[in-house]
């Protein structure tokens, strides 16, 4: 589908996630339901707003890395926007440059972790 985006960041997010950030009208339901906002620097709805404005500094925020992809936001969004896919797109932009969020070899007490946790972390936080 050909959609013209007003800025490069929104376009890139659309290419990776298939989500049009301009559908968001800032109701805040995603941020209200997100279990991890206490540990984030920017709220999920603020992140979407920044993408709408084309503010590339959002790529340096902690928020996409704190997101646990629990899908609460996506389930509740009244505009059927898949916010978890938008967060994944933000992560992918960094990961695809070869910049991993965690160093697998530097993890502490790795032998205590169940395989499921390590595989999930590898998928989400390494490229």
């Amino acid at each position: 589908m050909e959609v013209e985006m007003p800025n490069e960041l929104a376009e890139k997010i659309f290419m990776i996630s298939g989500q049009n950030v301009y559908a968001c009208y800032q109701c805040g339901k995603c941020s209200a339901g997100c279990p991890f906002t206490d540990y984030m620097d920017l709220l999920p709805n603020v992140v979407i707003h920044k993408i709408q404005l084309g503010d590339e500094r959002v790529l340096e925020a902690k928020t996409p890395w704190i997101c646990a992809a629990c899908f609460t936001c996506s389930t509740r969004c009244p505009r059927n926007l898949d916010i978890s896919k938008i967060m994944e797109a933000l992560r992918q932009i960094t990961l695809r440059k070869g910049i991993d969020r965690i160093k697998l070899k530097k993890l502490e007490k790795i032998e205590e972790l169940p395989t499921i946790a390590l595989v999930a972390a590898s998928r989400k936080l390494t490229g």
Binding site: L104, I110, T126
Partner: protein
């Protein structure tokens, strides 16, 4: 009569030649040669990327393609014959730092292997490793068996691994399979495999001096006795 005027000459059958490209440069080589022999035929002198020449040491990993075919093929240079239109390059070395571990302190389970090689959790089951293996090992399946702790099964599956490194070069998860497999085989051999009772008994007997007298006699016997004993072995008859 000069040799050059001799009437009888042996007719040489015309050798069938094939065209190969080594790192992009075109050569004509006789059909039926192995890649290794073909490289030496055209003048390469190999000091790396060559070893036993018998398909066992894994030194001569080679990658090649054919015209109009997107597929990437792999093989050992000493075991693969040249084909017309082969575009090839040798991979004489695969970079992979050996991990340091104390086998005495390890437990034979999945967590141990994963803690030393956490990149195993990045495996996406793409099967590129299996497709690359010149020994026809089910590499991906072996990695999966390791992830679920079936170290015995994995150790048997990877017995034929010669550590050529082609799988590791192609793996998108950057796993170094041959190092992982070596650890698994070591863990299997040390902790899981059945112990050989007669070996242990014999070693114990040795330590307790059961063969001391015989050995001392042999050691001090001298070269003429050794030569005689060597030549009269059962195996020589």
């Amino acid at each position: 009569m000069r040799m050059s005027q001799a009437k009888t000459t042996v007719k040489q059958p015309k050798m069938k030649m094939v065209t190969i490209y080594v790192m992009g440069k075109k050569y004509e080589v006789p059909e039926g040669l192995t890649i290794l022999k073909a490289l030496e035929y055209v003048g390469y002198r190999l000091i790396r990327g060559v070893g036993c020449r018998a398909g066992f040491c894994g030194a001569c990993a080679t990658v090649y393609r054919f015209k109009d075919d997107y597929k990437l093929y792999t093989g050992l240079a000493c075991q693969t014959t040249v084909k017309d239109g082969m575009y090839l390059v040798m991979i004489p070395f695969v970079p992979a730092k050996k991990p340091v571990y104390d086998i005495e302190k390890l437990k034979p389970d999945a967590s141990t292997v994963i803690s030393i090689f956490p990149e195993l959790t990045r495996c996406v089951a793409c099967n590129t490793c299996t497709k690359s293996c010149p020994q026809e090992i089910q590499v991906m399946d072996a990695v999966q068996e390791i992830l679920r702790g079936n170290l015995e099964k994995a150790a048997h599956m990877v017995f034929d691994c010669i550590a050529c490194g082609i799988c590791s070069m192609r793996c998108p998860a950057e796993i170094v399979h041959y190092h992982v497999f070596q650890l698994v085989r070591r863990l299997y051999g040390k902790y899981i495999a059945k112990k050989s009772k007669h070996l242990e008994d014999k070693l114990k007997a040795l330590e307790e001096g059961a063969f001391k007298e015989e050995l001392d006699k042999l050691v001090t016997a001298g070269p003429s006795v050794w030569k005689r004993l060597y030549e009269s072995r059962e195996i020589e008859k």
